[in-house]
């Protein structure tokens, strides 16, 4: 019944989540309109499938998920959550009044704000925006106020929580949760300073009163979604084991809230992530997914779980313990075959984090056999899924040649024509980066790149991509020329790589200039072996390369100067007969002839 309630709350709380929700806003949101699934297999505690559906349709992308959950519950709200349900309804109402453009605008504003603000602040702001922006003006506001638990002062809350009356404690906790969920400046620090955290953590264990477990879990989730200091306050209050215990709650909404809270704590950084793991969160978390068919789980519930698992995979320095990873991975692989776009996206993110590391970490992932499915998602066309799966694939090909080969064998290269011409420049860049690591591989791997017709696409990026993509393509070319066979290099040149490559020689980034010069000298080495140095010289000169290389001798970077000077000396040395051979004798004759003419004959 009240299951959706926690989700609604949750959305306000979690900073990671909030940001994620924003990120996924566009396409993924659409993906969750899956009436069949909802209708066919309503989650145990979920009252109405239709409610889900409607909710989704109504909800603007950024906050769709949480709000949707809240709404669903409202329709079938149980007693002690009236206030919450009202709020949730309010949300829905409010969102209904807004078109998605408006919501998008708001989100963009927030994003801009976020980028300027500190990371921790970002989360709060974003969260707030998605929650109660219009409460004050809402016609239903009064109703909520009448409930009595809304808009308490912190003092009143402290007093209520410290009361010995459970009912009062519940009311006060609910009031606290509401304050902490409000848009502007939730009084997180005041609640902490008032010493409420140990009390709230204590309420988590009140199995005799589910509502207070739920309200305190929600409140603590929102506190934990704040700054690292605020998260620390929650952890120091002993919340981790308490939340882990709640994972096994028979009340799905309480269990879900615990999942959420643990996600926020683990998402804070490596230390708390490992602490959560150390307290044994993984087993009960995975147990929640150990059902024969994960489609039988409520959509929101599943998303929360996936997201929390992804937080357990997140962050480096240090990376999560490898045993923990090995334990989580089979579940991730399973989730990767699910059909919910948000679940897929978060799972791909988790895998992208796990593959961002040393080769043995990559190996742990690769050996689960997940790569073919990743490649499939790579071609899904859904940006929120393509982005993390491309990153994951890109990470894997930084590994050994064998690991790279698995990616190739899974058919990844067939997706690259569309990735390398993707409308999003970030995707182009990531795809070009991935290519650069494949061309850094064995010659037969370079050949696969050739066979898939990708060289012209690299030329395309080099010619027309944004600069960041161009740089990655430059790396791809240099690696290719460094490791490729002569025939492969010839093929590259035949595809017109020289001109766009050379055009980038005037770029500001001296590092990339050096990489280009390196590619050129690699190509020269190949030409030398074919005795075609002259032809290459002509080609380079023809596309203006000689002028550019010459000019680089004035580069402020000494290494660039030397590299360009070396190239000229080696291949374009004026020493050769050409300049000296013919000129003198001839020029005499010529000059003579000119002087012979009679200027002035023509009058202008």
């Amino acid at each position: 019944m009240s299951q959706s309630e926690p989700r609604a709350a949750g959305k306000f709380k979690s900073r990671r989540r909030a940001s994620r929700a924003t990120a996924l806003s566009g396409p993924s949101c659409r993906g969750c309109w899956k009436p069949e699934r909802d209708a066919a297999a309503p989650p145990p505690a979920s009252p109405s499938g239709s409610g889900h559906l409607q909710q989704r349709e109504l909800s603007p992308p950024a906050t769709a998920r949480t709000r949707l959950a809240g709404n669903v519950l409202n329709t079938t709200m149980s007693t002690n959550e009236n206030a919450n349900s009202t709020a949730a309804r309010l949300n829905r109402f409010k969102n209904k009044g807004k078109d998605s453009t408006e919501m998008r605008r708001r989100r963009i504003e927030v994003n801009v704000e976020l980028r300027k603000a500190k990371k921790d602040d970002q989360m709060l702001k974003r969260r707030n925006v998605s929650t109660f922006p219009d409460d004050a003006t809402s016609p239903l506001q009064e109703n909520r106020n009448n409930q009595g638990s809304a808009l308490w002062s912190v003092e009143e809350i402290v007093k209520g929580i410290n009361s010995s009356n459970l009912e009062v404690q519940l009311q006060a906790t609910q009031a606290a949760r509401k304050l902490l969920s409000r848009e502007k400046q939730p009084p997180i620090d005041q609640i902490i300073e008032a010493g409420m955290i140990p009390k709230l953590v204590g309420f988590l264990g009140r199995t005799d009163c589910n509502p207070i477990q739920f309200e305190s879990a929600w409140a603590l989730t929102n506190i934990a979604s704040g700054t690292s200091d605020q998260t620390k306050a929650v952890v120091d209050g002993g919340a981790i084991p308490a939340f882990i215990a709640l994972l096994a709650s028979p009340q799905a909404h309480i269990s879900e809230q615990a999942v959420w809270a643990l996600g926020n704590i683990a998402g804070d950084g490596s230390a708390y992530r490992d602490l959560v793991i150390k307290y044994g969160a993984i087993d009960p978390l995975l147990a929640l997914l150990a059902v024969p068919d994960i489609s039988s789980l409520a959509c929101g519930y599943l998303r929360n779980l996936t997201w929390t698992l992804s937080n357990l995979c997140r962050n480096k320095n240090p990376a999560p313990p490898i045993e923990a990873i090995e334990q989580i991975l089979p579940t991730l692989v399973r989730l990767l075959h699910h059909d919910d776009p948000e679940v897929l996206a978060d799972t791909c993110w988790a895998i992208s984090y796990l593959t961002d590391g040393s080769n043995d970490r990559i190996e742990v992932v690769v050996k689960t056999g997940v790569v073919p499915q990743l490649v499939k998602l790579l071609g899904s066309g859904e940006l929120p899924i393509v982005t993390p799966s491309l990153r994951a694939i890109g990470n894997i090909v930084t590994g050994t040649d064998e690991q790279t080969q698995i990616v190739i064998d899974s058919g990844a290269l067939a997706v690259f024509p569309s990735l390398l011409t993707h409308p999003k420049t970030n995707i182009q860049k990531e795809a070009a980066w991935t290519m650069s690591n494949i061309t850094a591989g064995r010659q037969d791997q370079i050949q696969q790149v050739v066979n898939h017709g990708l060289v012209p696409y690299l030329v395309g990026i080099l010619s027309k991509g944004d600069f960041k993509s161009q740089k990655e393509a430059v790396w791809a070319v240099t690696n290719y020329t460094s490791g490729g066979t002569i025939e492969q290099i010839v093929y590259l040149v035949q595809n017109g790589i020289l001109e766009p490559l050379i055009n980038l020689l005037s770029a500001k980034d001296s590092k990339i200039v050096l990489v280009i010069l390196d590619a050129i000298s690699n190509i020269f080495l190949a030409a030398e072996k074919l005795n075609e140095t002259e032809k290459l010289c002509i080609l380079i000169e023809e596309c203006g390369g000689l002028d550019r290389i010459e000019a680089l001798q004035s580069h402020e970077n000494e290494t660039v100067y030397k590299a360009s000077s070396n190239l000229i000396e080696k291949y374009f040395s004026a020493e050769e007969e050409d300049q000296n051979v013919v000129p003198e004798s001839t020029s005499d004759g010529y000059t003579f002839q000119i002087q012979d003419g009679t200027p002035g004959t023509f009058n202008f």
């Binding site: 990120a23 996206a345 980066w433 500001k508 074919l530 010289c537 051979v581 004798s585 202008f604």
Partner: protein, 454 residues
């Protein structure tokens, strides 16, 4: 910073895998990255530059894309050549080089003719001009590409003699006048409108082109392409792009070229044709032509394609003028090189001799190997001048040290005749023969080894 690679190393082989540059997470992936500007590199301070040896690269004389565009191309075309001296615009290293390779001393005079063209300092400019002139300018330089075969077919070198030089004088004078006028007026007022001059220019040019002896009908000739020569220019290069075809056309062009050479000495004609040839020639049919296609795409096509364009657009009369001009104009006629008819091997080279442990230049010329009556081989290097001064004339004795060195040099030791140093006329000297390419050097070396054994 996350790159596994260390950027200081210049070789990336086997170490080329790089981690992602930026951490990407579900939190930041949707944020727009700040676009990075390509920018332009910063130049070192004058202080630093003073201490650097800035090398000037050798130009092979290829057309530059950048030169071929722009509203002022015609203008530029006119401006520059006069500066370089008369028809200098044709000076094009590329054109000459392939020709050398082809003609190989069989026609000394032709080589010497080309020489003047080479003098022109800036090929870019040259080319810019050629392309520029293509469509609109009356100079019609571009016609040559088509003309060559024409010339080859009908023109005798002798025919181009006197009238050509007269024409040239006039043209040079015209160009100098234009240049001076432009310099003067632009100096006075950089904002002035130069259109009238070019109208005048066109008129004058037509008038000198119509002088007796210049009256070839270029367009007519073009339409009757004879033999292989036609091929390159007349066909759309793009059409014959496939690499396999290249060698064919290359050889065709080649033969044409040498043909011209023998009979006709038209520097301007050779210029553009040569550039086309250069590219195609450079991959000999025997070669697999690894870079063949690319070359064909890039150099021959670009040089070819531009030229034909010019043709297509150029009004017939313009073309006529150009044809005549070219056919008349034999800078080479002036230089009468001494031919060595009986040489079995000839090659352009640059000769150095070693003195005080460093090589000094003896001169530029053509090396000939000739059989002598007593079964020996005579090595003769004549300067590429009118006089054909002998730079070296020795026998190739069996014991002559002879080795390949460097990229394109052959080293021999002999008692030079004429002596390099009057005082020690009989002391053996190390001579360095530099030829154009590595292959040439290999060939020369091989022949010398064979002949000295004989």
């Amino acid at each position: 910073m996350k790159y596994k690679l260390n950027f200081n190393c210049t070789r990336y082989r086997n170490m080329a895998k790089r981690n992602a540059e930026k951490e990407l997470t579900d939190r930041n992936w949707d944020q727009e990255d700040d676009a990075e500007e390509v920018g332009t590199f910063s130049v070192a301070s004058e202080e630093v530059l003073k201490n650097r040896a800035i090398k000037k690269a050798k130009r092979r004389g290829v057309a530059l894309e950048s030169e071929s565009g722009g509203a002022f191309k015609g203008f530029k075309g006119l401006m520059v050549p006069p500066g370089g001296g008369g028809l200098a615009g044709f000076g094009n290293g590329t054109s000459i080089k392939p020709l050398e390779g082809l003609s190989n001393g069989s026609t000394m005079s032709s080589v010497s003719n080309l020489a003047p063209a080479k003098t022109t300092p800036e090929k870019k400019v040259t080319f810019g001009r050629i392309t520029a002139n293509g469509p609109k300018s009356p100079l019609g330089t571009d016609k040559k590409a088509t003309d060559p075969k024409t010339n080859g077919d009908k023109q005798q070198p002798s025919s181009s003699g006197p009238s050509a030089s007269a024409y040239h004088r006039q043209l040079a004078a015209l160009n100098c006048s234009v240049r001076d006028w432009i310099v003067k007026h632009v100096d006075t007022n950089p904002l002035c409108d130069l259109t009238p001059i070019f109208k005048d220019y066109e008129r004058y040019l037509t008038s000198i082109e119509q002088l007796p002896g210049n009256s070839n009908d270029g367009s007519g000739q073009k339409q009757t392409p004879a033999g292989p020569a036609t091929r390159g220019p007349s066909q759309q290069p793009q059409d014959e792009a496939p690499p396999e075809k290249r060698p064919t056309s290359a050889s065709a062009a080649t033969s044409t070229t040498s043909f011209h050479f023998g009979q006709k000495v038209d520097g301007s004609v050779l210029g553009p044709l040569g550039s086309g040839v250069a590219a195609s020639f450079s991959f000999s049919p025997g070669n697999t032509g690894m870079f063949g296609k690319s070359v064909s795409q890039a150099s021959p096509i670009s040089s070819f394609s531009k030229v034909p364009e010019g043709h297509a657009d150029g009004p017939a009369n313009e073309r006529k003028g150009a044809d005549e001009e070219e056919s008349e104009e034999p800078p080479k006629v002036i230089v009468t090189e001494v031919k060595e008819e009986d040489a079995f091997y000839s090659k352009k080279c640059k000769l150095f001799y070693k003195k005080d442990n460093e090589f000094k230049e003896k001169g530029v010329g053509t090396l000939h190997l000739k059989p002598t009556a007593n079964q020996k081989t005579q090595l003769l290097v004549r300067a590429d001048t009118n006089l054909g001064n002998i730079l070296l004339n020795v026998l190739v004795p069996p014991n002559m040290p002879c080795s390949r060195t460097g990229k394109n040099n052959v080293l021999i030791v002999c008692v030079p005749n004429p002596p390099v140093c009057e005082k020690n006329a009989s002391i053996p000297v190390t001579m360095l023969i530099r030829v154009k390419t590595t292959e040439d050097a290999d060939e020369l070396h091989k022949i010398l080894l064979e002949k000295k054994e004989a």
